[in-house]
């Protein structure tokens, strides 16, 4: 899932300068799970903004809504009526959702209420760890199910650097060394010999380094006829 956290209220208030009719939009998917932009957070932020507006006589008119999935046009289009007359949308969806909303409603300024961070997983309630670097060429089968691209501070592919001590990364004693984890995972799997296999320079073409990525699955694309039958809005 996508891990994100809310921007500080002061920063957000600064961004809102000059706006009046504001719609706060959340998302029930990833950002709800990481407690950053679900229905509850939308409610809390909206209330905080109303209070601020009252105290500082901003005259803001704040309304709120939480989408099922802001990154899919079918769902995001539900904002159709709600954005009417608004001059600003605060997106508490991830950076993807915010862009989809802006694309659908080009006349309304969409501002990010979240800082979108990474692809990760909850470790426990309130704790989220990055797991995947989205490099487009997965090596987890070679690394004991632990991603060195996302989880090694140097994205090394051939084992731990000299800064790995007692299972910790040199950058912070709180950060586990991914290669130490990989080593012990491969040990449990009986595949330690994989630690000796040299991995040549990686092709970063499928990663973000190759430019923005577009995936086309031709068999899934609907024909004009199918689109008409589906009767969808977009």
């Amino acid at each position: 899932m996508i891990i994100a956290e809310q921007k500080g209220i002061e920063e957000l208030i600064g961004i809102l300068e000059g706006h009046k009719d504001i719609l706060v939009v959340g998302c029930r998917s990833c950002v709800a799970i990481c407690l950053a932009g679900g229905e509850k957070e939308v409610g809390v932020l909206s209330e905080a903004l109303r209070l601020h507006s009252d105290m500082r006589s901003k005259g803001w008119n704040i309304s709120e809504v939480t989408l099922e999935r802001a990154c899919e046009k079918e769902w995001a289009y539900e904002l159709d009526q709600l954005v009417e007359g608004k001059d600003c949308v605060i997106s508490l969806a991830c950076g993807v959702g915010a862009q989809v909303i802006q694309e659908l409603f080009p006349d309304v300024r969409v501002v990010p209420g979240l800082n979108t961070s990474n692809m990760g997983a909850p470790e426990e309630q309130g704790v989220y760890n990055e797991k995947c670097g989205g490099c487009g060429d997965c090596v987890l089968h070679l690394t004991g199910g632990i991603c060195p691209i996302a989880r090694c501070a140097k994205s090394l592919l051939n084992g731990p650097c000299g800064g790995s001590q007692e299972g910790k990364c040199e950058i912070d004693p709180e950060v586990p060394c991914a290669w130490d984890q990989i080593y012990h995972s491969l040990e449990k799997l009986g595949r330690l010999e994989l630690m000796d296999v040299p991995i040549p320079p990686k092709d970063w073409g499928p990663s973000r380094s190759g430019g923005p990525r577009k995936m086309v699955r031709s068999e899934a694309i609907l024909t004009d006829e199918q689109n008409r039958m589906k009767g969808g809005k977009r």
Partner: protein
């Protein structure tokens, strides 16, 4: 001869090599490098120029290496994977070779959180094993990575770093093996204070025959006070400094003299270990002590090998 460097000749001659480290200044003024070069000339076979060590912006290692050549000492330029992608690395190694630099140490580099550019984006396009693969291909096959032909191959003596004090300990020698298989001709280790652990590491290296595949140069770092020892122990990543070392400096009447004595003893010990082909002295911010340490360790004069450095800057 792969590169014809002085260091390569000393090692291939079976002589016990000495290398020393020069930290380039945080300045555009090359004079501190010239001064270190003059102070240390003749006390080591080659001199490492660190590459923005601890991620602090300094005069570049290649430029510093050229200053060393101008002063008539042989450089080992360090090159981190932190700051360059494979295009810059290959280009810089061609440039370094063109300028007369022969020895290149391939390292991952301290993470930028340690330095004065904490907000930097790091690169890590390749890791040190891959860097070695790339440079060896350039030298031996006259090809850049991907196969395009080089009209003239760079002349390189390739080095790798090894840290016997990092974890998992049981993997460290196999990691070194990977680096040697990828192209390392010589290896410089992290500074050694825990001799027992280093001996165990060397025993593992000999078991794999690594001491015959590459020249292992053991790292030492003279300490001038117990405070310096505490700093190394607590602040520098990947170091082990036993309490006995700290105590010895703390209780010494003359800590500096004791630091030199300790370093000399370490070198003598290291010379007795099978497979150790040299010593690398990292006298961080204490470069002027190197000649004395080398002399006290009985390693002077340095072997005079055939005129090794032929380059346009030699005066």
């Amino acid at each position: 001869m792969r590169s014809g460097s002085n260091l390569e000749k000393v090692l291939e001659d079976g002589r016990f090599a000495v290398t020393a480290e020069i930290g380039p200044p945080r300045s555009a003024d090359p004079e501190p490098i010239r001064k270190h070069a003059r102070d240390m000339k003749g006390s080591a076979d080659a001199f490492n120029l660190t590459d923005n060590q601890t991620a602090i912006v300094r005069l570049s290692s290649i430029a510093s290496g050229v200053v060393c050549l101008q002063e008539g000492i042989e450089p080992v330029i360090q090159m981190t994977c932190r700051d360059r992608n494979r295009i810059a690395m290959q280009s810089d190694v061609l440039g370094a070779s063109a300028l007369g630099i022969r020895n290149v140490l391939c390292i991952s580099g301290d993470h930028q959180v340690f330095g004065n550019q904490k907000e930097a984006k790091n690169v890590y396009d390749v890791d040190p094993v891959q860097q070695l693969m790339m440079f060896r291909k350039m030298r031996d096959e006259a090809q850049v990575w991907g196969g395009d032909k080089l009209e003239e191959a760079p002349k390189l003596f390739l080095g790798a770093a090894a840290n016997p004090f990092a974890d998992p300990f049981e993997y460290r020698v196999r990691r070194l093996s990977k680096k040697i298989n990828a192209g390392a001709d010589f290896v410089q280790t992290q500074a050694i204070y825990d001799m027992d652990r280093f001996e165990r590491w060397m025993a593992q290296a000999r078991e794999l025959g690594l001491h015959e595949k590459a020249h292992i140069i053991a790292g030492v770092m003279p300490l001038r006070s117990h405070k310096a020892a505490m700093y190394m122990k607590n602040k520098v990543s990947g170091m082990i400094v036993p309490d006995a070392v700290v105590d010895r400096l703390r209780t010494a009447a003359d800590p500096k003299a004791e630091g030199v004595k300790l370093c000399v003893e370490q070198i003598e010990h290291l010379m007795s270990i099978e497979g150790v082909h040299g010593v690398h002295i990292m006298a961080v911010a204490w470069e002027e002590i190197v000649p004395r340490i080398v002399r006290d360790a009985g390693l002077l004069p340095r072997p005079s090998v055939r005129e090794a450095i032929v380059h346009p800057y030699h005066s």
